[in-house]
């Protein structure tokens, strides 16, 4: 039987099928979806099974062997489903685990068992990545509901172990933080405290308020606020309060209604929650604290309504897979914006920083065939260029070293830990000593990453030299690449003696890495 295709249907390949798996504190979930360029992902399967990771990790610091086996069983089921869709290429599957695995002393044992039994390679992701994925996951939601983009928006995902908060103003990320504060962590903390229900609630509310304070702090004085809450517990609350809402990307609830639902749920014993809401035990146990967190945030910010979003980190993962790991323009802008915010915090010379960033980008592009790096490294180079001098906030002596640790310890939205390390080391080598085998932080990197740092730092040094005077004397430089040199043509070479010297001094690493000198020349007016 060979089905004829309709004649008007254009022949092409079927859309790609991708799977994302996330292993959280109370559940492991898998989503299989079709990604077709330009269209939103179409979910084919959504599997969710409860696991006790949160309970194990947050109470004893390690995952019990029963829980490991339970996770292995779940992953076997997932892998069976992957087989049904004939997904065999590991590149089509992205599996991540969050805090409940990350913080377990024996997380390796779990990950190895899962890999051996199911072939699924689970990677533990760091908070910066969670921030980024959360951002990706709410993007479609913001696009569909532009009113959420206006003014201040605090997007919060209350997880079992961590809470991620993303602050946006007019759609631009102001900050992104992940706090070690979650429904399960809170619950486990109080596990051994035997108290009557009312006292229990007081105590837990106290904990929550302490936990939330830093999350809402940036918006504490804002009058106009919107709050968007994500996560399974939030979806459950919305399901109960407004059944059938999930055909939409988000729904608004009155905080008072949410509070009533919270009161009602807190009074129910876990067994009843399981029965009433068809929940697995693990999720029922942490529901109460999660609901309290959800209602406390708007209450502390004096908001009357709260939005619940249908999206999750899995949507973010899929978005990222659909983009093939590339960062789109909008996301790149968010990263740069976040870097500028940090620069401001350390009172950077913004004109100089942006000039160096622009020149660094110019050189990165003209050198593309030489360094062959992915476009995202242009963004990393930009961030490095923007922040290369922030160390002067601490001291003028060895400021490159101060810049380095400031960057390593700042939440730059969108950059993973590894991205930040590369950025920080690039900055560290923007002046003074070249990378050396005695620099342990440098040598500890993989070879690929060491090369990245060298390539980027080489460019940054030259770009920095081009504005040695911090007065942006060089305008519209022209970059020409020759076999032996990178020639930078400037029309006002006579005014730029400082820069000319600086470039020749600072092209040392450039020459070492790329085998070319960088030099300033007078720009001939006839050349393009």
């Amino acid at each position: 039987m060979k089905p004829e295709t309709k004649t008007h249907q254009k022949k092409s390949t079927p859309p790609a099928i991708r799977a994302v798996i996330d292993i959280g504190a109370t559940a492991a979930r898998m989503m299989i979806a079709e990604i077709d360029s330009g269209n939103p992902a179409r979910t084919l399967e959504f599997l969710e099974q409860s696991v006790n990771l949160g309970r194990d990790t947050f109470s004893s610091g390690k995952i019990s062997s029963e829980t490991i086996e339970a996770c292995v069983r779940v992953c076997r089921d997932f892998s069976e489903m992957l087989r049904q869709y004939q997904i065999t290429d590991p590149a089509c599957v992205r599996a991540v685990a969050t805090s409940a695995v990350a913080e377990a002393a024996n997380s390796d044992v779990l990950l190895d068992r899962i890999f051996m039994a199911s072939g699924i390679n689970v990677e533990v992701i760091d908070t910066a990545e969670i921030n980024r994925l959360t951002y990706f996951s709410i993007l479609p939601l913001l696009q569909m509901d532009p009113s959420l983009c206006k003014g201040n928006l605090l997007a919060v995902e209350v997880g079992g172990g961590n809470t991620t908060a993303l602050g946006l103003r007019d759609g631009t990320v102001l900050f992104a933080h992940t706090y070690r504060f979650g429904s399960f962590r809170t619950r486990e903390m109080l596990e051994d405290v035997y108290l009557p229900t009312a006292r229990f609630r007081d105590l837990i509310e106290g904990e929550i308020r302490t936990g939330i304070r830093p999350i809402i702090e940036p918006f504490a004085n804002e009058k106009e606020m919107k709050i968007l809450i994500l996560g399974g517990d939030a979806r459950l609350a919305a399901d109960q309060i407004k059944p059938g809402w999930n055909s939409r990307p988000s729904v608004s609830l009155r905080v008072s209604t949410l509070a009533r639902f919270t009161d009602q749920s807190l009074e129910m014993p876990v067994e009843e929650l399981v029965k009433e809401y068809h929940l697995p035990f693990a999720a029922a146990e942490s529901l109460g604290p999660a609901l309290l967190v959800m209602q406390s945030i708007p209450q502390m910010l004096n908001c009357k309504t709260v939005y619940i979003g249908a999206s999750s980190m899995r949507d973010g993962l899929l978005q990222e897979m659909a983009a093939g790991g590339a960062w789109d323009e909008r996301f790149t802008q968010q990263i740069i914006h976040s870097a500028v915010e940090i620069g401001r915090r350390y009172q950077f010379d913004q004109d100089h920083a942006e000039n160096v960033a622009a020149r660094a980008r110019d050189i990165f592009r003209v050198m593309q065939d030489e360094h062959k790096m992915l476009p995202r490294y242009e963004t990393i180079l930009t961030v490095a260029a923007l922040l290369h001098d922030i160390g002067t906030f601490i001291s003028n002596r060895s400021h490159h070293k101060h810049s380095r640790y400031l960057i390593e310890n700042s939440d730059i939205f969108g950059l993973s830990q590894q991205d930040r390390t590369i950025t920080a080391l690039t900055v560290r080598y923007h002046r003074s000593a070249l990378p050396r085998s005695t620099h342990t932080d440098y040598t500890r990197l993989t070879r690929v990453n060491r090369l990245r740092v060298s390539k980027l730092a080489a460019i940054l040094r030259v770009a920095d030299g081009l504005d040695r005077g911090h007065v942006q004397r060089i305008r519209n430089p022209q970059f020409l690449l020759f076999p032996d040199r990178l020639q930078i043509g400037v029309s006002n070479l006579r005014d730029c003696a400082v820069e000319e010297i600086a470039v020749s001094e600072k092209s040392d690493l450039f020459e070492q890495v790329y085998g070319k000198r960088a030099l300033l020349v007078k720009r001939s007016p006839r050349r393009k």
Binding site: Q9, P14, I17, E34, L44, F46, Q49, Y85, H278
Partner: protein, 707 residues
């Protein structure tokens, strides 16, 4: 016994069930029906009663023995229910045998189907029987002596036995007894050589005639046939049986020997014989039924289906090919072009089988998932699933081993599927999977497309010829993704998660129905027209009945088409005056569940696997599917409305609990509507119309559809 003075708002479900069986019996008694048709109905009533005793009476007896005295919603305690059941069933059995002995047997003889008694045999028949007895009957029967001191031999559930009484041994005072099994491999009917008619003799008559052959030297004082019905209300305890397959096998074993809930014995048997059996089986006289005629009328079904004798039968109705389906085109293409709704058995079940068979061979198909509840032994569906698995497709079969009385058959094909590489899932813990759904996942150019079949009947091509059921085939994205979510939940891949369109018991069907009824109530209160039409097999659920009462009081017009048990009391002022209930008993067993809500003209209609019983809504996995495709929806609305308007084969339930033929109701001068006839003729008409259309186009020759 104290009875509450508060009027009860519910009929007792057991008595309502007996009423249903009575309506079937009325069909057997109705001289307007062809003779063999009447015999078929009679045989069905007997089979129904067997099941009723095994399950319902068995269960009630256990409840009573456990000392429970709580009255049910109709105000009857278990004891009162059992007493009422005794009374009604005894009366029913009398009517069954009156019908058989005084009407059917003589009329059949006149029509050429003759039951002959031993004393009426002619020489040729006598000789023929002698030979048959010696060759085939005598060698397979071994009499067993029965003594109260000896362990009772295994008397199997629902099997015919002959009890023989002998005088006491010298020096003793007690009579002696022996028992002969007339069960397998013996046939109940023995055809005898005869001219111009079908002459048969019953096996028990032959054995009684030759009883002396087994007991040389002894004189039998008397012999009588008896039959034991055992309690089948035993379910596998899943927490104890880690392996359901072996657990179920032991249930079957247990059911064979569980306590006796009914003892039937030939009326000619002496009291001493009856007492002997009663004490042997620990059965009180209230559970003993003396039968005045051939035991086990269920055995007469093959006779009702005898070859020939068409003048004694109804005209054959053959399932018609649906004109919606082109037999030369793959099913998936046709479903992709338009949703398909079929009404079986007026329309053939073949397209459903074909969908699965084609999927098994289709290289684009990634996965087939299917629930199998009761399916026929030589099912082409099982074969197709096995084929698909053998060619490397991912095939999942959710096999419900707990389908009552079919367990044995289910275990067999479950094993066969497993051997073929099908991933077999044995149901859901604590719940019977009653939903009927098949999902085919296919990779096409535009992406993954899911083809789904949702039904109200089982994937059983043989019952599909007798049960009227709806099939709905679609590739709607939401209905497809719901089917996936359903399978992920029942196969344990995932906790049940958000379903987009369908509802699933035990999670959401009852609540959704309440919402829908509430919607009509609200509309009625706001002065809009409000109407609900419901078609199902049984209506027992108190919560939903209360809701229907509330709707009636709010002015919602409610028409119920409930084939079997109905605990709702219709037509009671201040309670249910806007509710009418009819029950259709016709040549097909009404089996489709269709729920219709008017919604001020935005009509919504659902098909479902679920009856409105606590059992279905709380302890079974069931589905309720909205039919939104406009032509299918219109068709379904026509189906339920036509059934609700039936005046020929329908019975109307009165507020006092009695059923009256709708046609006989006073003051009704309605046009005659026989809904089953109507749908059959409609199906034939559609085929004729389609044939006329195709005649104008040139197509390769294909076999004619004419019957």
């Amino acid at each position: 016994m104290m009875m509450s003075s508060k009027p009860k708002k519910f009929f007792n479900r057991e008595l309502s069930w007996i009423d249903f069986n009575q309506r079937v019996l009325e069909e057997a008694k109705d001289p307007r029906n062809p003779l063999l048709e009447r015999l078929k109905f009679l045989s069905i009533t007997a089979s129904n009663l067997d099941e009723f005793f095994m399950v319902r009476v068995g269960g009630l007896q256990l409840v009573r023995k456990a000392g429970k005295r709580k009255a049910d919603a109709s105000g009857l305690t278990p004891r009162m229910q059992l007493e009422a059941i005794q009374k009604r069933t005894r009366q029913m059995i009398d009517e069954q045998y009156d019908c058989y002995t005084n009407s059917l047997e003589p009329a059949l003889a006149a029509g050429g189907i003759v039951r002959i008694k031993p004393e009426e045999l002619n020489g040729e028949q006598e000789q023929y029987l002698m030979r048959l007895f010696s060759d085939e009957i005598y060698p397979v029967i071994t009499p067993v002596a029965l003594q109260e001191k000896l362990p009772t031999p295994a008397l199997q559930n629902l099997t015919l036995y002959l009890l023989v009484r002998f005088p006491p041994e010298s020096g003793e005072t007690e009579d002696r007894y022996a028992v002969l099994s007339l069960g397998k491999p013996l046939e109940r009917f023995i055809s005898l050589p005869a001219e111009n008619s079908h002459v048969f003799i019953l096996i028990e008559d032959v054995i009684k005639k030759h009883i002396g052959r087994w007991f040389s030297g002894l004189t039998a004082l008397e012999c009588a046939l008896f039959r034991v019905t055992r309690n089948a209300d035993i379910e596998v305890r899943e927490d104890e049986a880690s392996d359901l397959l072996s657990g179920m096998a032991s249930i079957l074993e247990e059911r064979r020997w569980s306590n006796c809930v009914r003892l039937e014995i030939e009326a000619s048997a002496s009291r001493s014989m009856q007492n002997f059996l009663g004490s042997l089986l620990d059965t009180p006289p209230s559970d003993v039924f003396r039968i005045n005629g051939p035991l086990n009328l269920k055995d007469f079904m093959p006779l009702a289906q005898i070859e020939g004798f068409s003048e004694l039968k109804s005209e054959d109705w053959y399932p018609q090919p649906s004109p919606q389906i082109d037999r030369h085109q793959p099913m998936v293409e046709q479903i992709a072009a338009a949703d398909i709704l079929l009404y079986h058995p007026y329309e053939s079940f073949d397209p459903v089988v074909r969908l699965i068979e084609e999927a098994a061979r289709d290289p684009s198909v990634l996965a087939i998932k299917q629930v199998l509840y009761r399916t026929s032994s030589a099912s082409p569906i099982i074969a197709a699933l096995a084929d698909a698995a053998e060619t490397g497709k991912s095939v999942t079969a959710l096999v419900e081993l707990k389908a009552r009385f079919d367990e044995e058959r289910n275990i067999n094909w479950a094993q066969r599927l497993e051997q073929a590489g099908v991933q077999v899932v044995y149901g859901v813990q604590g719940l019977k999977t009653h939903a009927k759904v098949c999902l085919i996942v296919r990779r096409e150019l535009q992406g993954i497309v899911r083809y789904v079949h949702y039904g109200t009947g089982n994937y059983n091509d043989s019952t599909a010829k007798l049960y009227s059921d709806i099939s709905f085939m679609t590739c709607d994205d939401a209905l497809g993704s719901d089917a996936s979510a359903f399978f992920n939940a029942v196969c344990g891949y995932s906790q049940p998660s958000g379903l987009r369109k369908i509802c699933m018991a035990p999670l959401s069907i009852r609540n959704r129905l309440i919402e829908l009824i509430d919607g009509e109530i609200e509309r009625s209160r706001q002065g809009q027209k409000a109407q609900i039409l419901l078609k199902m097999n049984s209506l027992v659920d108190e919560i939903l009945i209360e809701k229907l009462y509330e709707a009636s009081q709010a002015g919602v017009r409610i028409k119920l088409n409930v084939r079997g048990i109905c605990c709702l009391q219709p037509g009671i002022p201040d309670l249910s005056k806007n509710i009418t209930v009819i029950s259709i008993v016709g040549r097909y067993l009404e089996h489709a569940r269709i729920f219709y809500f008017y919604r001020n003209g935005e009509e919504k209609v659902f098909i479902s696997s679920a009856d409105w019983m606590p059992r279905n809504l709380d302890r079974r996995v069931e589905l309720m599917i909205p039919i939104e495709d406009p032509p299918s929806r219109q068709r379904l609305i026509q189906i339920i409305k036509t059934h609700c308007d039936d005046t020929v084969k329908s019975w109307t339930l009165l507020s006092d609990g009695t059923y009256v033929r709708t046609a006989a109701l006073p003051g009704r001068k309605k046009k005659k509507i026989n809904s089953q006839q109507f749908f059959y003729e409609q199906a034939c008409e559609a085929v004729r119309n389609a044939a006329r259309l195709t005649r104008t186009t040139l197509r390769p020759h294909r076999p004619a559809d004419k019957k």
